[in-house]
Symmetry: C2
Subunit: 348 residues, 2 copies
């Protein structure tokens, strides 16, 4: 028994396929009773629309592409991004629509561009979602140029407005820095993601603003950046401990980096807490299990990702960018008592 089609329903009810099609989509032109009857029969027969035919006809793909970056810089390292959550968030937003999620795994920028070209040129999706916006992001330039709908996780420096969901890194970094200054810290390190990411700048800005407000001079040596992995965190800590004037605290960009810093501190014999303070930024609430658990700025990734999906739908509906932009504030989770900065510099 073949899969029921619009034609089966037509035959069964006696209405033409045109009417059936209209009825199923609830068009106003169909008499309510007719519509109900047809829909009833459709359910009875277990009818499901054939997406391929639909797509062919309408030239829509009913598909949302998600670009998943899998870095080849550090293939063995965890980057602290839980795509499961991101996908679940997007997924929950598009449940009950006709849309499906297509995932494209990309290794680098060239790969991403080639993939976008396949998607746009080949009609593989109606819209794209991607993360980690760059300064002068070529993906955004390309998609805006093509007029192809997209939502980015992370704002951009593009002059033309577009849909995005962003974590307010600047405020989080500002708050974290202020917090440390209040505790008496003067030498504060910023453990940052790669410099070509937009949010690296946002974090730096927040950090520097806080220092400037407190009239503390900035020191470039205190800012370390690299892939958002534990390895980077570990190396960062080791490098910082080589300085003549060592920091007494650091602010990490994500959980993986925090883990690396803690690991390096433990190896070096630096006691996190009394000697050195670590502040994290969390996606997963994972850092509460670190030793010791650091104070953190938390952003609920799944909820955030749901917004990505919702904005995507709005975009596809032709919504104005102003309706599809949102900055998310982090929640502070205090895990360490407010230990004041050590009175004398670390001597390691």
């Amino acid at each position: 028994m073949a899969r029921p089609t619009i034609k089966s329903i037509s035959k069964r009810t006696g209405y033409s396929v045109g009417t059936v099609s209209n009825a199923l989509r609830g068009a106003k032109s169909v008499k309510p009773e007719t519509r109900d009857e047809i829909q009833r029969v459709a359910v009875e027969l277990g009818y499901r629309v054939n997406l391929d035919a639909l797509k062919l006809r309408t030239n829509k793909s009913y598909r949302i592409a998600v670009l998943v970056g899998v870095s080849t810089d550090a293939p063995d390292e965890w980057e602290g991004v839980e795509f499961t959550r991101i996908l679940a968030g997007i997924s929950s937003a598009i449940t009950r629509t006709r849309y499906e999620l297509s995932v494209f795994s990309v290794a680098n920028s060239d790969d991403a561009m080639a993939t976008l070209d396949r998607i746009v040129g080949g009609g593989l999706a109606d819209g794209v979602i991607f993360t980690a916006t760059l300064k002068n992001d070529p993906r955004i330039a390309y998609l805006q140029d093509k007029g192809f709908p997209f939502v980015s996780y992370g704002m951009s420096d593009s002059t033309r407005p577009h849909a995005f969901v962003d974590f307010d890194s600047q405020t989080a970094a500002f708050d974290a820095t202020v917090r440390l200054i209040r505790l008496g810290h003067r030498r504060i390190s910023l453990v940052n993601p790669p410099e070509d990411l937009i949010y690296a700048d946002q974090r730096r800005q927040g950090y520097e603003n806080a220092l400037a407000t407190a009239r503390i001079s900035t020191d470039p040596a205190l800012i370390v950046s690299g892939p958002t992995t534990a390895r980077t965190g570990k190396r960062a800590f080791q490098t910082l401990m080589q300085l003549d004037d060592k920091p007494s605290a650091c602010i990490c960009a994500n959980e993986a980096m925090t883990l690396g810093v803690l690991s390096a501190a433990a190896e070096t014999g630096v006691r996190v807490g009394p000697d050195f303070t670590v502040i994290s930024t969390d996606d997963l609430q994972l850092s509460r299990y670190f030793v010791p658990p650091p104070t953190t700025y938390y952003v609920p990734i799944e909820e955030t990702s749901r917004l990505l999906g919702e904005f995507m739908l709005k975009c596809l509906d032709g919504a104005d960018p102003s309706e599809t932009q949102k900055k998310i504030r982090a929640t502070l989770i205090e895990r360490q008592p407010d230990i004041p900065a050590p009175q004398q510099a670390l001597t390691t």
Copy 2:
């Protein structure tokens, strides 16, 4: 300028669409020179096959569905599964084929079954990949019943053979247990995933075999199971420390659980190393940054996942199950010196 179709090529070359279609697929019935000419023009025009039309006609979807489980039991907890890697692995296997990846996020078993029904009944994909096989897995029963191609990550207890890639949990658990016994441990705990998972049994089997070989009696109180999260690890450790006869070591099912155990140990004041030994199982090489870094059994998830993709393609090609089954052995990574078990029991 619209997207070029087979018809554009037909017009341009003068050959009929039928010939063009055949030529593009390299059918033998087309004269080589004709074929070359058509293919040249196709490239020239930037022709790309319209997948929707193709699918409609052939009734294939050229799509592989991946079920991503996102547990709602512990929505806030990290389950230690990096889907990015799994997707990247599968992705790399199907690059250069016509297949694409569709991701379906499912919350629980019912959800998974409903999703499968949509996929199979709606022709949303040609094959399915999913993880974490259960005892008496309803997904496997359903798919085998429908004769729908699938590859599972994890073997099953189904009586009919099917494609799978599995991590050899039993051997890893056996080896870990033997290792601890050699170090003098007699009270060894197994921190296990939920009991309905096939690999929970495999781990238990390996563990019990090792104990039996050493003529050490088993104690049900030493086996704790729950979602593969840090929370479970933490609670497990706390529970174990309530026992009169406490264990001196434990074997965790994944990195998240290990992290939880380490966290609980630190809070309880138990010194991991001298007082208590932790052995982990790694997907991500993340545990090397734990404090202290535990010895671990590592399985390279990305490579493993590539196999999932390759087996899927073979299945779709009608390969025999015997060609699409593989058990992966873990690699031992020793991170702790071989500290013998403490001579006297823990007193916490």
